[in-house]
Symmetry: C2
Subunit: 123 residues, 2 copies
């Protein structure tokens, strides 16, 4: 969109484009979010299972991240009437629409890391 | 990668995948970075031009973001021997490899915003 500067100002169309990119960045950002999504990719999980699998995440952070993913329609939260209560988290179909993007990011990130390491070695 | 949990633990292969995704998120993240990249997409710019076009960015933040983009090989910085000195920033060929990703993010972010607004209207 950068080739559409009009009189040196950014047209509204481009601003909407940036906003849309930043919306996606916001959804995916954070150390844990992509990891939680991927972890739920293998099927629904209970809270404690998630905490065990996503090594290093604290309970407050896990709850916060799960809540954010739920608000954005990427996971569902189901409370089972067991004693004690069991809470299960499951990926929505909608969440799978992110897969091509995260795969693309993984590919770019991988080549970027290799490029940076190579350049450091040459120096 | 989520379907590859082995004994409930995340295999190293998947950890590398998450790391690669986070590397890309790190490069693109921040309110301004994508905007600066897009702005330079229309050709090289001087520092003051960038500050004018990227409305609302402060000089400290702009310098910080430009420095980060330079370190990551996405832009080049050229000092011209004018009086006073002119500094020009230009996108590298490498930076253009990010375009399919940012376009994909813009498309997903756009539909996500529309979805969220639609759901809020229904409620």
């Amino acid at each position: 969109m950068g080739d559409k500067l009009i009189n040196g100002n950014i047209p509204d169309e481009c601003k909407r484009h940036f906003k849309a990119v930043n919306d996606t960045l916001y959804i995916l950002n954070g150390k844990w979010r992509v990891m939680i999504i991927a972890c739920l990719g293998s099927g629904k999980k209970r809270y404690l299972e998630l905490q065990r699998i996503v090594e290093g995440i604290g309970p407050k952070m896990l709850s916060k991240e799960l809540n954010n993913l739920e608000i954005n329609g990427l996971i569902t939260r189901t409370t089972l009437k067991t004693r004690p209560v069991t809470v299960e988290y499951e990926l929505t179909e909608y969440a799978r629409s992110l897969k091509p993007l995260t795969d693309g990011m993984a590919a770019w990130g991988k080549q970027h890391r290799e490029k940076v390491i190579k350049e450091m070695t040459v120096k």
